[in-house]
Symmetry: D2
Amino acid sequence: MNVWYTEEHTPGVRLSMKIEQHLYSGQSEFQKIDVLQTTEFGKLLTLDGLVMLTEKDEFIYHDMIVHVPMATNPNIKKVLVIGAGDGGTVRELTKYETIEQIDMVEIDKMVVDVCQEFIPLTASKLTDPRVNLFFEDGLKFVRTKENEYDLIIVDSTDPFGPGEGLFTKEFYGNCYNALNEDGILVNQHESPFYAEYALSMQRAHNRIVEFFPNCHVYQAHIPTYPSGHWLFGFASKKFDPIKDLDVAAWNALDLKTKYYNTEIHVGSFALPNYVKEQLEDAE
Amino acid sequence: MNVWYTEEHTPGVRLSMKIEQHLYSGQSEFQKIDVLQTTEFGKLLTLDGLVMLTEKDEFIYHDMIVHVPMATNPNIKKVLVIGAGDGGTVRELTKYETIEQIDMVEIDKMVVDVCQEFIPLTASKLTDPRVNLFFEDGLKFVRTKENEYDLIIVDSTDPFGPGEGLFTKEFYGNCYNALNEDGILVNQHESPFYAEYALSMQRAHNRIVEFFPNCHVYQAHIPTYPSGHWLFGFASKKFDPIKDLDVAAWNALDLKTKYYNTEIHVGSFALPNYVKEQLEDAE
Amino acid sequence: MNVWYTEEHTPGVRLSMKIEQHLYSGQSEFQKIDVLQTTEFGKLLTLDGLVMLTEKDEFIYHDMIVHVPMATNPNIKKVLVIGAGDGGTVRELTKYETIEQIDMVEIDKMVVDVCQEFIPLTASKLTDPRVNLFFEDGLKFVRTKENEYDLIIVDSTDPFGPGEGLFTKEFYGNCYNALNEDGILVNQHESPFYAEYALSMQRAHNRIVEFFPNCHVYQAHIPTYPSGHWLFGFASKKFDPIKDLDVAAWNALDLKTKYYNTEIHVGSFALPNYVKEQLEDAE
Amino acid sequence: MNVWYTEEHTPGVRLSMKIEQHLYSGQSEFQKIDVLQTTEFGKLLTLDGLVMLTEKDEFIYHDMIVHVPMATNPNIKKVLVIGAGDGGTVRELTKYETIEQIDMVEIDKMVVDVCQEFIPLTASKLTDPRVNLFFEDGLKFVRTKENEYDLIIVDSTDPFGPGEGLFTKEFYGNCYNALNEDGILVNQHESPFYAEYALSMQRAHNRIVEFFPNCHVYQAHIPTYPSGHWLFGFASKKFDPIKDLDVAAWNALDLKTKYYNTEIHVGSFALPNYVKEQLEDAE
């Protein structure tokens, strides 16, 4: 079957994946949810027709959004995850025995249900006893919290559609308040390469630096995301992701990771000149 | 005009670029050469239908293939460049006043002619008086050299077609001999993400480690190459690309670069675990 | 969801249909069977990845393969249908109360099962009491019959894969024998426009004219088939499809047809000059 | 080079042609003009990105738009052609020695210039001494003519963009006046298969029947046009295209045609039931 899924990254660039089978298609209250079996990437999850994850490269994203903050502060015990309905972020968090509580707030229960049925690779640890699932608006949830979390991970969709509120100034301010004094905020931070994404990235950065004294941006290469060059934001009240990294402590945990290691932790904060300039322009 | 160029990265993945105009098409003795005006990437050069470079992201490749060795050993004076008919590698090399001689060996004169006419962005410095152009087989050229160069850069096509010989054991051995005792060999090293490219990468690595005492691999994100995750090999007789990096010296040169800086120099050698394993398997 | 099915009609031509949902995918003993929901064409049935029918234009094919012979000889009572697992040909035949028996021989039971579940538009009349379903090789089935049928309709796939035997000289000879003296053979006859299809068409024509005294070719426009210009073969022992057409008799039946009428019956035998030349070359 | 031109026939259907070379691209005062070398269809002319003709199937269109009226009235001497900048319609007209004058009115001189340079297959007869080229608006040109022409051929683009005026009531009324009492109007009449084209076709038909006592529609199969099923309008003051067809006279001319013959002339007026219904609805 010559069937291809195509994502238009810009009006002049398309990435296409060959499809073996369309496993699921549904419309939730918030968005269209599809799971497709691809030839190259295993299963593909799309929301409103845009790539969320593929089984082949999700490990890069989830390693980098979780292990960077966890290796910076090994004492993280209470974590809030916003979005992340596929479960991959929670899966990586549950590898840490020291974590006591994971609150996950996903607006769309159907995403979780679909991933539990079709993509156990990412969703299998959502049943961990430390995980509390809240199916509500992350923006509202975080408003009610104060001085509670060691780590907030914002694992959102792009800043249009349901994910839009998770890129606002109000949201980042509420995250600041919901974090305790050791608190770290990590968020998916869009991409610097194509103009439209770079603008989203600059806007997010501009809003985060208003609240947090320590703001850093790090990168990973995620082949199925637009341009593949993807950024994460690291903001904290007191931790520095490089100086405070405890290499020996993290390695002593002996976690199995396919992408992350403590050298790449450090290396990922070294940004190309043009990205540094984009960030400086945004500050 | 709804006209698109598509490269098949694997039988299940395609990257497509919208085309505004087909500026040039020709058949040389060695390969088909095309220059296309794209909507997103400026001009696109293809050889035998495969992406060689685009104006939008060539700076990443050329920064990383040139400045990493040059910052490691600021005393490099005599350089051999193999392939690189587009001129981008030479353009970056000519930024160093300390370089005295650049021998560039490109098998296909037509590539140089076409790039000089259509892609001055990369080709404009091929007329620098320090540059000697040799239109011959790099494999044969290097056989005749001994103890001559401080740096050899192998800026080849993929290891099929005209570029095949530049991935052989014999070739790497001859490069070793052509280098003096300070010599550094840098080569484009394919990609770890898709299986077929990973295999080429492992083969190249396996052959290089036989000759050079210091072998390292570093990475960059090049959006228009398959998976975007691209590797370079750094092999030398005595230099270590991290320990010997002289940050102050390089920064004192005050070169303008859009991607490279000395932090990314170091960061680029931090590889994901799965790539480290591929390299260990190959050794 | 930006998902498209593409059929390559020649190495230089592709027709693509937007897909809403992949309703079914299965592998039978003989071929891969898929049903897809398209945006423009309703449901699409493919065998081994090639278009068999779409709900939007199947009426053209089925009208023309059935009503042309039926209007030529209103006394047809016993019909053999070979292939046609989707049921569309049988659906049109069952409109004639005068038909007493329809033997349908489809090699692949799974095609029938899938169409009965997913494409009732064509398959709904397979349960007519006059229809006998035989799931076996049409080539073998017809070998055992002599002087039995008034009409044989060969509604086959293209002459590669399971349908290959239905384009052989042996098969057409056996059809001749299986027909009584009033017998008519109608077959899908490929297309004159693209070279590869024209060759199949000429081969089929060449083999049929060896056996039947009256051989004619007629055409219809089927938008989802390669080039859209499609041919049917009409071969008989004594009937002429134009001279023997009884316009009044057919119109008196008052059948509802979306494509066929008695003027188009006549008009469809008027072929373009280049097609006439192809047929003459083949004779 | 894996480069493809794609025309979107509807939001759910695309036809793609492989491109060898982009021969010409220009912007006239009226539209974007491109000539591309395709793998399957020879040269392709597009206006504003839409297929106008290909060398492989233009003969079908030009045969049917010219020979149907010419065979109906062999005494045609003075012809007005509107649009048709590629020259194919004029090429067919010049085959008739009996024609004394061909006035061709094409709004866009650049189309003619480009076709004369790149597509001599259609444009070569524009230099015939009987041809007068007028580069002006056909709508305005025809307003000034009365009782002058034996035949008007409207060989326009689709009824959006520059061709829009050629589908208006005013235009058809002016054509009626510009024709003498023997006058015939033939126009490209869009397609019945896809909804949007069918609507254009019905609108055109509705406007023509207001003026002409004899209105007929005939069809041809043009593989590179949307759905391939294409219609032409035949309207006249006194001639009937079937009853007045003089088969012997036309055949005596011994013209070489690849598609047209007098049987297909008659056959092309036999329309499918669903098209007849569309036309009746429009009347």
